[in-house]
Assembly symmetry: C2
């Protein structure tokens, strides 16, 4: 509508006075305050400092103000300081939405929440989102979160991209045949994922190196003298699940241990399912009974520990147990659980870096990144650590 300059002109005061009057500063005499306010009302003006006001106060064009603020063109020292002075005095902050419209870039990254059922959450996802937000901000972006429907997850993504709400996406919790990934690839929308999908799909992702992780913990157990080591994994067919099993074989092979087929068990990712499998392992003939049980998730490991506790088996002494993820509750089990810590900060930072490369349309040559997890040794495999 009107500009501050016009209000000032109508009230017949300097621009700065008008500003102070309207922003309610005490330094302007009551009478002037009133007359300025009246002028503003007459023009239907409500205080809102824009680049025009800065330009008016500094006696330059708005183009010059813009150039100073973005230093996108040479400006003489004198005018530059006049502009900056005006900016400071009016407490001006550019309205980002003008910029967005003009550049047709929102500098917003979408991130969709699944509706995580109780207990089925990936416990570290909330910290992932924190680090993601942090990383994204270092590029001048922000994160826009939205809620998925499970049935038609692509809808939300489509809506957001088609209405220009976001520039790209970060995905977590990916699946084999993930329809979101398929859609984003086909629609040529910039994105990066935390987690893999189909091997044959080419898209940027980061993931935790589960194979290396399970190998690490298996090596750790071997170095403690264990020779009969069991693995409780997920049902065959999942990318990350199979990789973890492979890590188990890697470590055994490196130590020249031939794994007995009965040591490898597969079941769904739950505490009770894992407990049932642990029971089977205990029932093996003594010569075959494992002295260590590696689990591919903390949840399963906790099921195993609870079961062993109930049976009177001393976890850590009689049988070693390990998990994967480093859920906060690992420190609270009895005994505390050895596990592999998800390198959440790393994963988030790298995922964001990949996305930024896509957004700049200069995709990095290395678009698939695996990060090794960190072995956290606690009393469930090394009882001396019980009371550190």
């Amino acid at each position: 509508m009107a500009t501050l300059k016009q209000v000032a002109a109508l009230a017949n005061v300097p621009l700065l006075t008008a500003y102070h009057a309207l922003s309610g500063s005490e330094s302007v005499p009551q009478a002037q305050r009133e007359s300025v306010r009246k002028a503003a009302e007459q023009l239907g003006y409500t205080l809102n400092i824009t680049i025009k006001d800065v330009a008016a106060l500094a006696n330059v064009s708005i183009a010059t103000v813009s150039y100073v603020l973005n230093d996108s063109a040479p400006v003489s020292a004198a005018t530059r300081s006049r502009v900056l002075e005006a900016v400071a005095v009016l407490n001006y902050r550019p309205n980002i939405n003008g910029r967005i419209l003009q550049a047709n870039k929102t500098r917003l990254v979408g991130y969709g929440w699944h509706n995580i059922k109780r207990g089925h959450a990936a416990p570290f996802l909330d910290r992932f989102t924190y680090w993601m937000a942090q990383a994204v901000e270092s590029y001048g972006y922000h994160v826009l979160t939205f809620a998925h429907s499970e049935e038609s997850p692509t809808e939300a993504y489509q809506e957001l991209i088609q209405t220009n709400r976001v520039d790209g996406f970060i995905l977590a919790h990916t699946n084999h045949n993930d329809p979101r990934i398929r859609y984003l690839i086909d629609a040529r929308v910039p994105f990066a994922a935390f987690g893999r999908a189909n091997d044959s799909w080419d898209f940027p992702y980061v993931d935790v190196d589960g194979r290396r992780g399970i190998a690490l913990v298996t090596e750790h157990l071997i170095s403690l003298g264990h020779k009969q080591i069991a693995l409780i994994g997920w049902p065959e067919g999942s990318l990350s699940g199979d990789a973890r099993v492979q890590g188990y074989f890697d470590a055994l092979a490196a130590a020249a241990i031939t794994p007995h087929p009965d040591w490898l068990r597969r079941t769904e990712n739950s505490a009770t399912a894992a407990a049932a499998v642990a029971a089977e392992l205990l029932d093996l003939p003594a010569s075959l009974r494992p002295t260590a049980i590696v689990c591919v998730s903390d949840l399963m490991a906790i099921g195993v520990i609870n079961y062993l506790n109930r049976c009177g088996v001393q976890v850590g002494y009689d049988i070693a147990v390990s998990g994967f993820d480093d859920d906060p509750m690992c420190e609270l089990t009895h005994p505390p659980l050895t596990t592999l810590r998800q390198p959440v900060e790393d994963l988030a930072t790298q995922a964001v870096a990949l996305l930024m490369a896509e957004l700049e349309r200069m995709p990095s040559p290395q678009r698939q990144i695996l990060v090794a997890p960190q072995l956290i040794v606690r009393a469930s495999t090394d009882p001396q650590r019980q009371f550190p």
Copy 2:
């Protein structure tokens, strides 16, 4: 730059043909495709359907298109259907950023992540954010998340509001004297909080009714026949902590039980601190020793359970234990933990409703809302439930 209409005119084809040619549809003959593409290049045009294109195709003004899309003015049935047809055929979606600039409303709500140290997280906050996103979307908004620095948390809020990135905020994890709340009140920024701050500050919030919650679980224990009930609370001085202690007294008073002073213990919110306090309680003379221990957090309850397990005390049989929050791990302790479930969905929905009222500048009369948590009985207080 140029519009689709101009490209079509230059290539001497109908607008629709130009559209199909540029969007790479097979239905347009190769030759035409080429000439359209050449025309587009000459004009520096890249395919981007706007309201102008829809208007051109439907042979109406852009105003009319806008009116149809928002039905904000009467339009005859004939033109309306012509417009909708054009929208469908061009696959048009309004660019939200034009709308934002014009309305000066981003329909974005800010939510700041704390940097939660391991194990100090509120375990339900990730689900809170999910429900918050969901609730916000039902009003046509989205959530913008950002990362706090702990030192100067207000900076991020100030930046976002001053640059018009968001319309308002949802806060979680509030403190006494919370500087963010103070700033937002003073700057008259619309917001709503999950959690209370100073009693004397008037602002919209929702919170869990800890007093009622602790009363509920205490009543539950009384109804099971317990008469010697201990409470492990937080150090005096926190609003929510003191309310919970009050709930304990409420329930005891209602049952005409006089609490012995030794039953009320206060310590910091950690498993080990709670375990130490449990030890003191066990050491009380038999006539005073509690048969039930109420804890004001799951974390503390787990510390207590672990300690009792180590001492050979049968939790649930010899001593009942309860927590607060219903962290996922409550189902995984031995025995599973009775607790009070945070009504996360409710809290999120109501917080958002409060914020929306603020945004519409029609604040609801009831700006302070307490929601009762739900008592979840498990084997740690009622052993029959151990194997349901």
